[in-house]
Amino acid sequence: MQPHAEFVHWLFATGILLVGMCLLAEAVVGREVWQQRPWRRYLWPGIAFTMGVLLWPVMALYTNSAIHMYAHGAWAQVLMLAGGAELGLVRGRLHSRWWRLTWPLAFAVTGTAFLVHEQNAWWFARSAFLHHLLGWTFLLGALVPLALVWRPQSAVLRGMFALTIVAISVMLYTDRDVAPVFGHLSPLAGTPHR
């Protein structure tokens, strides 16, 4: 009854896509208009925090390797921290701009975990390729939320942040448990399915 990993990745990709779309809309209309309705302030930080909470059952149920459990646990923690800090900021309970450092921290931890817990080379299979690609995207993408700490009103940086998130969701949607990547599939990876 437990779903394949790819199903879980697609579900999380949907949540990440929604966060990316909200961030894109916020970057286009500006923070003042975006925050005019109270529920909208909490929308994307709330989705991010909820995804962090939902990563705990993923960590607990997908126990095929210890390093996967550590990676999922690390993602759960940093996503809850970043989402929670954002919720505190929009609520007005938190004031320091340094709380926004939780986003580059989340990106850096996530990217490192992706790269560390993938044991195979880029062209082993599609999932291995995506682990490397996602890892480097998160690590390099961490520079954008880092720059946003000092330039929070920059529409260009906010747009780049949103597009990075959307790109991550697209990568997760392309994930398959066993599938070739650009025609490459190691015979050790297993039999591909749809």
């Binding site: 009854m1 779903p3 394949h4 199903f7 697609w10 579900l11 990709a13 949907t14 896509l17 929604l18 779309m21 909200c22 894109l24 809309a25 286009v28 209309v29 003042e32 208009v33 975006w34 005019q36 309705r37 909208r40 929308l43 949607y173 749809r194």
Partner: protein, 93 residues
């Protein structure tokens, strides 16, 4: 060239797509992405051939997830956001 006209031309070049148009298009474009995906990989839509499919294959159909995200954004986020954007523009005039 008249300076006012020059500014208008410059603004038009910079804002080739207004915020209103962008917000209006974001949801439908996402839905279109999901529909195109479903056309390119129809085997991912198990609703079209539900017999002998496992539970998760029937519940999680990624093109439908993309379509759902687009519909959610268009109706829940974009509509009130466009109204607020219009109201803030009107207040600024």
């Amino acid at each position: 060239m008249h300076p006012t006209f020059a500014t208008e031309v410059s603004d038009r070049r910079v804002r080739w797509l207004s915020p209103e148009a962008f917000i209006s298009l974001l949801g439908p474009l996402t839905v279109a992405g999901g529909v195109i995906w479903a056309i390119l990989q129809p085997w991912r839509l198990t609703l079209l051939h539900p017999l002998h499919q496992g539970f998760w294959w029937l519940v999680v159909e990624p093109p439908l997830l993309v379509v759902g995200a687009g519909i959610f954004f268009a109706f829940v986020v974009a509509r009130p956001l466009l109204a607020d954007l219009e109201a803030s523009r009107a207040a600024a005039r």
